[in-house]
């Protein structure tokens, strides 16, 4: 997406590009993931080209069409276009059933992010290291904030982090910052002068997982990070008022803290005083990627 590109122009560009791809060669089936404009336009283009579309991470819902924007619209619009739905958990399967999706078109798979995290954890490549040192004598708090609809509340959240950093010198706040210039400037303005806040460039995935493994606490507005952190058994504060994911919440590891500075400050401080959460992995018997691959092998298309 080019800087300043509107959703309309992104949508039309992607549809045109996908048409070019599918005109070159018609696949037997296409897989897309989640709730992005890419996934929505792929499902729509497949529908126009009569290609079966299989949706991975299907069925997440807030049931508020513009929250998150435009992702909730994308999800709801992908569902009727998809031939098959790979739902992470029973909750998402039920959401789809409630919308009239046929029971035989849904498979519960678990989240593929667990397989992604495992790939990183078991891979011993030099890329698998952090570009900075982490002190042993401080509690590490990883901070990631970037959501589009959250930009107006970003300053509030950052203010809460500032209060926490000023009060808790026993903690070191590591903030990998999204490349979005608005996000970059908001972080600098609010936090750059604090000795126990480290503003760093966005990390590659392997490094980010390594950072998560060493953290005491995670503060994020990203559903993906919520999933990864709770899979790794980390305490997670979600700087949003609503989340469509259960990950961590039902285990008491993750909690919604909203965007009020005082509340964020007190939540960070309280959680710093808890022991590190014990690492407990929620595993299905079979890997999600294996379930998806087996299903695709059998699927008649």
């Amino acid at each position: 997406m080019r800087a300043g590109q509107s959703l309309s122009s992104l949508t039309s560009t992607l549809l045109t590009q996908l048409e070019g791809c599918f005109n070159d060669e018609i696949p037997d089936l296409v897989l897309g993931h989640g709730d992005t404009t890419t996934c929505f336009t792929t499902a729509l283009s497949c529908f126009y080209h009569r290609i079966p579309f299989f949706h991975v991470e299907a069925g997440l819902r807030t049931h508020l069409l513009d929250t998150p924007f435009p992702e909730e619209f994308n999800r709801q619009s992908i569902a009727p276009l998809a031939r098959h739905h790979f739902a992470p958990t029973e909750t998402e399967r039920q959401n789809l059933l409630n919308e009239g999706i046929g029971i035989s078109s849904i498979t519960v798979t678990g989240s593929t992010v667990h397989d992604a995290v495992d790939l990183i954890r078991t891979k011993n490549s030099p890329k698998n290291s952090l570009p900075f040192e982490l002190p042993q004598d401080r509690k590490i708090v990883a901070v990631t904030l970037h959501r589009r609809e959250g930009l107006h509340s970003l300053e509030n959240t950052l203010h809460g982090i500032r209060l926490a950093a000023e009060a808790r010198k026993d903690a070191l706040f590591i903030c990998p910052i999204h490349p979005n210039p608005i996000v970059q400037s908001a972080f600098r303005k609010c936090l750059v002068d604090l000795e126990n806040v480290k503003l760093v460039q966005a990390l590659d995935y392997a490094s980010f997982i390594k950072l998560l493994l060493k953290t005491h606490l995670v503060l994020t507005d990203s559903g993906g990070v919520q999933e990864e952190a709770s899979f790794l058994g980390k305490r997670t504060l979600i700087a949003r008022t609503k989340t469509e994911r259960d990950d961590g919440i039902k285990d008491g590891l993750a909690s919604l803290v909203g965007v009020n500075p005082e509340h964020i400050f007190s939540s960070i401080s309280k959680n710093l005083d808890y022991d590190s959460a014990s690492v407990c992995f929620n595993r299905l018997e079979k890997r999600s990627t294996e379930i998806i691959t087996d299903y695709i092998e059998k699927a008649a298309v």
């Binding site: 997406m1 996908l18 037997d28 296409v30 993931h33 991975v56 995935y205 993906g224 990627t289």
Partner: protein, 48 residues
């Protein structure tokens, strides 16, 4: 062999579809293709 395309455009999609791509390639070989739309060009390289 089934011709399968995986379409991704952002970093989270790349991360979460990487193990699916690897698993499908093991089973179906070269008939599995990856298409990147470049929706978030600045983030896709981080996954390489």
């Amino acid at each position: 062999m089934k011709k399968i395309s995986i379409v991704i455009g952002t970093r989270p999609e790349a991360i979460k579809m990487a193990p699916v791509y690897i698993s499908l390639r093991k089973r179906f070989g070269n008939s599995v293709k990856l298409i990147s739309t470049g929706q978030h060009q600045e983030l896709l390289w981080l996954c390489s």
